[in-house]
């Protein structure tokens, strides 16, 4: 069992999506592959994207900065920090941006290691990864159920009361002021650890064993191996994951709105929620800048961490052709594992899988009970379709499903078309200017949190005299999805061998024909990944729907939020809604996960 027995991945491009964080040491696709070395037509392909991003992301950020700095730094920042809760929101946001990514990455690494040693691995990985497909709204509902102060609903409360009876102290409620932030963070970790496990699995499985075998032969201990071989090898991946999760903590917004009772809102308030609650206040743009600075520092640190002097030859497992995640035997794990470690791994994975599956099971078991039972009795009651019946009879969920589907479909279509044009222009029709700058800008646009651009967008709409319409909703969603999609497609396009491109060029007519042939041919997997991610992003959105509220349009996120207002008496209907809403992204991700993981992981490992 050696590295040679693995099928090599067909394409391993240099640099890629996750690696774009590290653009500073990455010059992008090799220039020799370009069709036309330097021309202005490249700019034409980029025009729609540039206009859209400039209007919806660029200008609002500038506006926010201008508002924050107008009249001198002191004034606006003074206004912002006059409220002690604003200070608390900044502190909590720093904690979120530092602690949560660390927990996700460390836990993800440990679980990835453990899952490689057991036969539970594939199912385990699937269970750990499933929450990634769910929306943060659904995660919030599941966790609120888990931590409900009533023992009939809140399994975590049941456990904590049981434990405290043993040691004889009164436990604070999970949703009370003491523990609320921990509870909300646990929901986030639940949702995000899957991506860390998948990425670490892919990289660990691709790591050549000779290095480790050689070190072992030299008599290295477990700790020597960890600090001299494993950690340096994983440094780049870990740094990129840290940055990704740190940027993702903006999504704590959904969790706080869904999980946190009104009374403790101030104890859990983070900048996204604070900026949303008080969005008319003069100090808000200054807080936006503070948040940007926090994110900037974390991403910059991660980029430094991602610079790797010693890139290892890592080969990705061929996910595109695997039936499921490749079995352990096929991966050639070093055979020298002790049975004890294998058993420990099995226990760790089994515990993690149980804990991770539990909120989903809780959601389903609440949904399949009558609404009255879901409020008052323990889980033992009989199944009933009552909650689903009430969901469709008394809430606008059916409208919301149809309209959210339509919105996500339109946005995905537009994003895929515009991103293909832009990526094509960037890769082969190199526009004037440094390609690196464009990538940095795209990356910046992909990570700017929505609450920071929200005041600028609102101001823009007001001054243009545009009220909130479905069209505005589509435009803003497209702009938010484009940067990520372009970065992903750019990698895929750049990875196409130049010979293949020349073949295409012989038969296709014009640049448009070439693009079509590329998109439908070699770039199809990447395009599938982009379309799936984009559809799921719009489907799972809450923030944009609240920012651009169109009263005539029902969307699933806001409908669930409305139902969550009366949480205890609405638990059954709410859980039923969460289950129905989750089906769409789960199906999409199940059918496309190979493309997505390949697209995301490709650039992390470099040859």
């Amino acid at each position: 069992m050696t590295a040679q027995s693995r099928r090599p991945s067909p394409v391993v491009p240099s640099g890629s999506l996750l690696a774009e964080v590290a653009v500073l040491d990455d010059v992008g696709p090799p220039r020799r592959r370009r069709f036309s070395p330097y021309n202005w037509t490249g700019l034409a392909w980029l025009t729609p994207t540039v206009l859209l991003l400039g209007l919806v992301i660029g200008w609002p950020v500038v506006w926010t900065a201008y508002q924050a700095l107008r009249g001198g730094m002191g004034e606006r920042f003074g206004q912002a920090f006059a409220d002690p809760f604003a200070v608390r929101a900044v502190v909590l946001t720093v904690v979120w941006t530092v602690v949560v990514p660390l927990v996700v990455v460390i836990l993800g690494y440990l679980l990835a290691q453990a899952s490689r040693r057991t036969r539970l691995g594939s199912i385990g990985t699937a269970v750990l990864a499933a929450p990634m497909a769910l929306s943060m709204v659904v995660t919030g509902i599941a966790c609120r159920l888990l931590y409900d102060p009533s023992q009939q609903r809140g399994a975590a409360t049941l456990v904590s009361i049981g434990l405290s009876d043993l040691i004889g102290v009164d436990p604070p409620p999970w949703l009370g002021p003491t523990l609320i932030t921990v509870s909300v963070m646990s929901g986030f970790v639940w949702a995000w650890v899957g991506i860390a496990v998948l990425v670490f699995r892919a990289v660990l499985d691709g790591t050549p064993l000779q290095v480790i075998d050689a070190a072992r032969a030299e008599g290295a201990t477990v700790w020597d191996l960890l600090f001299t071989v494993r950690l340096p090898m994983l440094r780049r991946v870990a740094a990129l994951l840290l940055a990704l999760v740190a940027v993702g903590t903006a999504r704590s917004f959904d969790l706080v709105l869904l999980m946190v009772p009104g009374w403790v809102r101030d104890d859990a308030v983070v900048l996204p929620v604070y900026m949303w609650q008080y969005r008319g206040d003069p100090g808000i743009p200054a807080l936006g800048l503070v948040w940007l600075a926090i994110l900037g520092v974390v991403v910059a640190l991660a980029s430094i961490g991602a610079r790797q002097q010693w890139p290892l030859p890592i080969t990705l497992p061929d996910l595109e052709h695997a039936a499921w995640w490749p079995r352990r035997s096929a991966l050639g794990l070093a055979g020298a594992e002790s049975p004890l470690r294998r058993r420990l791994s099995l226990v760790a994975v089994a515990v993690a899988v149980t804990v991770w599956a539990f909120p989903m099971l809780l959601l389903v078991s609440t949904a399949i009970r009558d609404p009255v039972d879901a409020t008052t009795t323990s889980w033992a009651s009989l199944p009933s379709p009552g909650s689903f019946r009430r969901l469709f009879a008394e809430t606008p969920m059916l409208d919301a499903l149809v309209q959210t589907f339509a919105l996500a479909f339109v946005v995905t279509l537009v994003v895929v078309v515009l991103a293909s044009l832009a990526a094509y222009g960037l890769v082969w029709l190199r526009p004037p200017g440094r390609g690196g700058t464009v990538v940095v800008l795209l990356f910046a646009a992909a990570v700017v949190p929505v609450p920071i651009i929200a005041p600028g967008v609102a101001h823009l709409l007001t001054s243009l005299g545009i009220s909130n319409t479905p069209g505005v909703l589509v435009v803003i969603h497209v702009a938010l999805g484009l940067p990520f999609a372009i970065l992903l497609l750019r990698q895929a396009f750049a990875a196409i061998p130049v010979e293949r491109l020349n073949q295409v060029r012989l038969v296709a007519r014009g640049q448009g024909g070439v693009l079509r042939a590329v998109v439908l041919g070699p770039a199809k997997p990447a395009l599938t990944a982009v379309a799936a991610l984009e559809f799921v992003r719009v489907w799972n959105d809450l923030m944009v729907a609240l920012l651009v509220a169109v009263p005539e349009v029902a969307l699933v996120g806001p409908v669930l939020l409305t139902e969550a207002r009366q949480f205890a008496t609405g638990a059954g209907v709410l859980a039923a809604g969460a289950v129905v809403v989750s089906l769409v992204p789960l199906v999409i991700i199940t059918f496309t996960w190979r493309h997505i993981v390949t697209a995301l992981v490709n650039g992390v490992v470099r040859r």
Partner: protein, 457 residues
């Protein structure tokens, strides 16, 4: 999802959240396709409402029972209803009808857009007694019609020895004493909803000093006044009675109003009591059906400070929702919209609303039957009769009636989840129920916080 659910929405989430429901004559509800969401047919009457969830659903069902209705589109705007209407008027595209929860919003609209709000003939004002007509009249002209009213001065309890059908404490002092002496009294307080606590406060204050209550609504009296302190102290004394709160104070702060009622009115030993508006009744119905809440309940009015001869002088805090007609300039739909408002103001609509559990104050609907939409399933429940009594009290509100105070507050005091007066009262509840609380100090602190958040008097 019932009752005042609109008030539990985040004030910060002013944006509308629930979705549209399109009513047509033939199919009851049509889905609005995304692209056509803005133009759902030229002949459609648009109604913007604050309701969502069950309240909206009940309204939709009531409208659906009207056979000659024109095509109607319901838009749920949540707490953002005022800004939605204003921006639509500015854009020259107002909705035809707006259903508003606060008379203050109407006064503001009429002041800013006198040409866009349509006046009603006084013959539509078929509600007896003060304050109903006055609340919707701006400088002598009637601008709205009441659809439903809310009674916020009533306790609900299980029928037990000492707390029978005729139980009615005469004074605040007596109510507190009865709660202390009854060995097994359990009080359900949905303190998770901040407005439950402000409703308690409003009733206590109205029973102590109606003048101060009125002064706080128009900001001519300071929150520092001794009467406010007296009301707070009484609340603190009641809430901190040993073991009276169901599940303890921390649990109460995580319990919402409907859950609190279900907890204490259910089949468990002891005297369960809760203080909630009339809107708790439709929320309780399914639990009565499942025998999780007693089928027969008692009610009593929030008592005043001093003993009164007649119940007329007992404090009565009310709320309600009314429809306002807006001019769109399109003659056909404007005529249709007027027809809708006239129907909404009539006795048929009143009876339909009553059937779904909304209190009606229409003078011709005094004999309206309540909760008939679920009555077949609840033959033994006395909830419908209790609602009928409450509606009767709203028709003859007596001498001490006021519109909800917290709904009229502005600026930093305006309530919302975790915000304004809701938050301040939740903090007060938390500190005053601690075992080591010094009630005078806590009251002082709460009063100082309220005064600091209030605009300059």
């Amino acid at each position: 999802m019932t009752g005042t659910s609109r008030r539990t929405v985040l004030r910060g989430l002013a944006a509308g959240v629930a979705g549209p429901l399109l009513l047509r004559a033939a199919p009851a509800v049509t889905v609005v396709p995304l692209a056509a969401a803005c133009a759902p047919g030229r002949d459609t009457v648009q109604i913007v409402v604050v309701w969502s969830g069950r309240e909206l659903e009940m309204f939709r069902r009531a409208l659906n029972s009207w056979e000659e209705r024109p095509p109607i589109q319901l838009i749920s705007a949540g707490n953002g209803i005022d800004s939605l209407i204003r921006s639509r008027i500015e854009a020259g595209n107002p909705p035809h009808i707006a259903v508003l929860p606060q008379p203050g919003l109407l006064t503001g609209l009429v002041a800013d857009y006198p040409d866009d709000v349509v006046a009603h003939p006084h013959k539509l004002a078929r509600w007896p007694g003060w304050p109903w007509r006055d609340l919707l009249t701006v400088s002598g002209t009637l601008y709205g019609v009441w659809l439903k009213a809310t009674h916020k001065s009533v306790f609900w309890h299980r029928l037990r020895r000492g707390f029978d059908v005729s139980y009615q404490p005469g004074t605040l002092h007596q109510l507190r004493r009865d709660l202390v002496t009854a060995p097994d009294a359990v009080l359900g307080v949905g303190a998770g909803d901040g407005w439950v606590l402000t409703d308690w406060f409003e009733n206590a204050l109205l029973g102590i000093a109606p003048g101060v209550y009125r002064g706080l609504t128009d900001n001519t009296v300071s929150w520092d006044s001794p009467e406010v302190a007296e009301a707070l102290r009484w609340l603190g004394e009641v809430w901190s009675i040993d073991d009276v709160l169901s599940g303890g104070p921390q649990r109460a702060l995580l319990t919402q109003y409907d859950q609190a009622a279900i907890q204490v009115l259910g089949n468990r030993p002891g005297i369960g009591l809760t203080f909630e508006g009339d809107f708790i009744a439709p929320a309780l119905a399914p639990y009565q059906k499942s025998k999780l809440v007693d089928l027969r309940l008692g009610t009593f009015r929030f008592p005043p400070k001093e003993k009164e001869e007649k119940e007329d002088a007992f404090p009565l805090v009310v709320g309600g929702d009314f429809a306002v007609l807006l001019k769109t300039g399109d003659r056909a739909t404007d005529t249709a919209a007027r027809r809708v408002v006239e129907w909404l103001a009539g006795p048929e609509a009143a009876r339909l609303f009553a059937a779904h559990g909304f209190l009606t104050i229409h003078e011709e609907a005094g004999n309206a039957e309540y909760l008939t939409s679920v009555r077949d399933e609840l033959p033994a429940s006395n909830l419908p009769n209790l609602l009928k009594d409450l509606a009767g009290q709203l028709r003859n509100p007596g001498s001490s009636v006021e519109f909800d105070l917290s709904d009229q507050l502005k600026g930093r005091l305006a309530g919302g989840d975790g915000q304004g007066i809701w938050r301040l009262f939740q903090d007060f509840f938390f500190t005053v129920t601690r075992p080591d609380a010094d009630i005078n100090m806590v009251v002082d602190d709460a009063q100082r916080a309220l005064a600091a958040a209030a605009p300059e008097a």
